[in-house]
């Protein structure tokens, strides 16, 4: 509850900044940039695995956000909206479409229980980041959005332009691959 209240205040404060930025106030947009660039860059970096590419993507995301400020609805989260834009930038820069996997009915039951992300054995941050970076694109995208950034299957699916079911399948696949890579029970 407390967190929701804090988040609500943050959204309101941000709404003021967005409103000012929308009317051309560059300083307000700079404030928004500084508040969100870390997450946007982190997202781009994990999706692209390329620091220079991630910088480009992050910049592009903020340019696109500036142009589209008029279409942002202030009652929703500016951060989520930015992430959507960033994911679009990443996807548009990829040369070929991300592979999609089929999900069998047998897998569906397994997938439904995929929200338990606790590792039985602690793993070093560097090791798990490397393992995530080594995942195939589709699996990595979903794992990053859902596992690290906390988006639901539906939200991640919307960002990635895939069906919710596909997201669930990719997540299941990502977990299996990580388990194989890291050995500990994931």
């Amino acid at each position: 509850m407390g967190l929701a209240a804090v988040k609500s205040e943050q959204v309101d404060w941000e709404a003021g900044l967005v409103q000012r930025a929308r009317s051309g106030d560059m300083r307000a947009f700079e404030r928004l940039y500084r508040d969100h660039v870390g997450r946007v860059y982190g997202l781009c970096l994990r999706l692209t695995r390329d620091p220079a590419g991630a910088e480009d993507c992050a910049q592009e995301a903020f340019v696109n956000a500036w142009r589209a400020l008029g279409r942002f609805e202030t009652r929703s989260s500016f951060g989520t909206w930015l992430h959507r834009i960033a994911v679009n930038v990443v996807l548009s820069r990829r040369r070929r479409p991300t592979e999609q996997i089929e999900l069998s009915s047998h897998d569906v039951e397994q997938v439904e229980s995929d929200h338990d992300w606790t590792l039985d054995t602690p793993v070093e941050v560097g090791e798990i980041e490397s393992a995530i970076a080594a995942l195939p694109e589709g699996a990595r995208d979903v794992l990053v959005l859902c596992g690290i950034y906390g988006y639901s299957h539906g939200e991640a699916g919307q960002m990635l332009g895939v069906a919710e079911g596909t997201c669930k399948a990719q997540l299941h696949r990502a977990r299996a691959l990580l388990r194989a890579k890291l050995h500990p029970e994931v």
Binding site: R20, S23, G24, M26, L43, P51, Q59, W66, L119, I128
Partner: protein, 210 residues
């Protein structure tokens, strides 16, 4: 990367969501946002509301674009004129000429209306930069006079090199206004000019003073 001991985690959402970029991208971003295709206000802002930075903006996107192209052409012409004057006439009145608006830097303070500024506005519109540059230019001629002749010639040649670089980059930006490489290089050449002006200032204020 720091050399602190690695952290171990048990949940993926313990991984840091915030990763600071390796460099501050705001200056380049701001420069892009103020370029013609970036607009100086949001799309809706241009059509409807009164933008708070209306003095930077131009009403219509096409006018912004043509204004930027005109500025680039004017910059090339002005730069060539200034460099010819500098190299032919020596140091005389260099500072005054650069301040009087014949610099290849088309600053907002030195040009009117839509003719200047879009291409370099973000950097050169900063009030602190403008004040510092004006101060250095005001004393440039005096400082140049105090330099040994060979050094004076070399400084003027370096300034000409910088201005030629600015022209080349601005011409390229006229064709590719969103090119981040060009934007970064352009800002660096402005900093190079400041570096030279500062070096001349320091050289004339007691280096080797006896």
């Amino acid at each position: 990367m720091s050399d602190t001991a690695p952290t171990k985690i048990t949940r993926l959402d313990e991984l840091p969501r915030d990763i600071p970029p390796p460099r501050d991208g705001w200056p380049a971003l701001e420069a892009r946002l103020l370029l013609p295709n970036g607009t100086t206000a949001t799309d809706e802002g241009l059509r409807g509301a009164r933008p708070t930075i209306v003095r930077r903006s131009v009403t219509h996107r096409s006018a912004v674009w043509f204004g930027a192209v005109a500025a680039a052409v004017a910059a090339v012409a002005a730069g060539i004129l200034v460099d010819r004057l500098i190299l032919q006439a020596g140091h005389a009145d260099v500072g005054r000429q650069l301040t009087a608006g014949q610099s290849p830097i088309q600053t907002r303070g030195e040009q009117g209306g839509e003719r200047g500024g879009e291409l370099a506005a973000a950097f050169v519109s900063d009030p602190r930069y403008l004040a510092e540059r004006s101060a250095l230019l005001a004393s440039l001629d005096e400082r140049l006079k105090s330099l040994p002749p060979q050094t004076r010639r070399q400084v003027l040649a370096s300034l000409a090199t910088i201005h030629q670089s600015m022209q080349q980059i601005q011409q390229a930006l006229g064709r590719e206004p969103t090119n981040a490489l060009l934007q970064g290089l352009l800002i660096d050449t402005y900093q190079d000019e400041m570096r030279v002006l500062t070096a001349v200032q320091e050289a004339g204020t007691g280096s080797g003073e006896s």
